[in-house]
Amino acid sequence: MAATGVSTNQSVALKRTLNFGLQLLGALLIIVLVPIAFGMQWRNFEPLLDGITLRFLLFGVVATVVVSLVAIILSLPLATGLALGRLSPIAAVRWPSIAIVEVVRSLPLLLVIFYVNLRFPLIDKLENLKLGNPDSFFGIELDRLLSRGALAVAIALTVYTAAVNAELLRSGINSLDRGQTEAARSLGLTYWQTMRLVILPQAFQRILAPLIAQFTILVKDTSLGSIIGFVELQRRAVILYQRDFNPMEALFVVALIYFAVNYLLGLTSKLVERKRPSVHVTVPEF
């Protein structure tokens, strides 16, 4: 028994190493083969490598990541509220929740972004905040981060993602045994204590993978902000290739950056899952 145990552990470790190696190889192949296949040229990459341009791109990453994080963090409580609202026995709470979720989910995100950008109570007040020193590089970047476009994208993505995740969370809650709620309530816990301490932790654990998937969609969708003047990563690629006439190369670099950001985001889901292993099922390693 012990011998087979050790050998399985070794083979699991071997498989993991092999798996990682294959992924790395795949990534390298893409980085080398795609530029060749699309006829990109090295001299067109060169203008992207200069210091000021790299800094410009780096702050594009910062803008994209900050707006994404804000939307992710704000969407979580909103999604929870909408999911619980939709499950509420009180009609005056349930129907507005259903209405918000269904309407927002069925609209194109771009339309929501346009709409928020045109008129949203807070946006007009925050528009010309101009906190940053316009003469310094950081001042300019700060104002770009606090621009109307950035705010509109953050708000639209918050609402949109909350509506989508509300349904995800609702299915997670519904997948739990009703006995869990009954057990908690029979111990004297209130509705809110039951949700906070017993139901929601389990529901979030169950939907973790699709939840993170929705967040990677959110990160990608920040690029829609480029249309309304939010100078994020995608917009910066466009600005750069209009300067250097190298759209293939500029977009390829930005594509790699998006991939890297979302790959890291995907890793966090694996980390959280490994930290809190599912106690119901042990998934065999293949």
Binding site: A184, L187, L197
Partner: protein, 262 residues
């Protein structure tokens, strides 16, 4: 009469019963058109162990669940320890703190360890300090015989162990009444006894218990009265030996002949 007897060697208990602590008066519960409870009246006294038997769908679980308001009766009164649950503005959570419940499916919280399961309600409902809650939890885990599993997750325990943790979790609130909804039905035969032993200890200590179960051995060893239910009504109520050996109603005879004939 042949009995599936997990408690054969145990002497029947003689309780001194106290004041009535559960009173149900003309309780009615419907699920749509189905009448789950029709005009059920019942009194349970302090320290009494009441067993409820009956075919599936007879309303025995519904009756039990009306006691801690997991089911809201459509009519009649449920009075627990002097508090009328059916009188509108009652704080149901206050009553639930005094009524422990054990479920067929254990319903331990899988995201928490065993000791966290036992501590949770103590901390948030009883507002005990962490040290105090853990002390009480460990005492109870010792009492149910599995202190070594304190830091395991429920999924790492056998069914019998999980059910004993569930009992410890309910007891940690120091309830006045314990409700058991088919506590051994989901267990393998060899685990039933370990759960019944814990329940028997509780009965000996004078805990008021209402038990939905077909464990006839436990009924004989620990219960003061047995109720036979059918179609949402109490058909017959008697001391366990009387009811099992000398049933008065045809439906009771038929039911007992089915469950005791193996």
């Amino acid at each position: 009469m042949e009995v599936t007897d997990n408690m054969a060697a145990v002497e029947p208990l003689k309780h001194t019963l106290g004041e009535p602590i559960i009173a149900m008066e003309h309780v009615v519960k419907r699920f749509g058109k189905l009448v789950a409870l029709s005009d059920v009246s019942l009194e349970v006294r302090k320290g009494e162990v009441l067993m409820i038997v009956g075919p599936s769908g007879s309303g025995k679980s519904t009756l039990l669940r009306c006691i801690n308001h997991l089911e809201v009766p459509d009519g009649g009164k449920v009075i627990i320890d002097g508090i009328d649950l059916t009188a509108g503005r009652t704080n149901i959570n206050k009553v639930r703190e005094e009524v422990g419940m054990v479920f067929q499916g254990f319903e331990l919280f899988p995201n928490l360890t065993v000791i966290e399961n036992v501590c949770l309600a103590q901390r948030v409902v009883r507002k005990r300090s962490k040290a105090e809650a853990q002390g009480i939890a460990m005492d109870l885990l010792k009492k149910v015989g599995i202190p070594e599993k304190a830091n395991n997750h429920p999924a790492q325990l056998s069914g019998g162990q999980q059910q004993r943790v569930a009992i410890a979790r309910a007891l940690a609130m120091q309830p006045k009444i314990m409700l058991f909804d088919e506590p051994t039905s989901a267990l393998d035969p060899e685990m039933i006894k370990e759960v019944l032993d814990v329940m028997l200890d509780l009965a000996r200590e004078g805990m008021t218990m209402v038990v939905v179960s077909h464990e006839m051995g436990f009924a004989r060893a620990a219960s003061n009265r047995v109720i036979f239910m059918d179609h949402g009504s109490i058909v017959e109520m008697n001391e366990p030996n009387e009811l099992f050996n000398n049933p008065q109603h045809e439906r009771t005879k038929l039911f007992l002949s089915k469950i005791l004939s193996h």
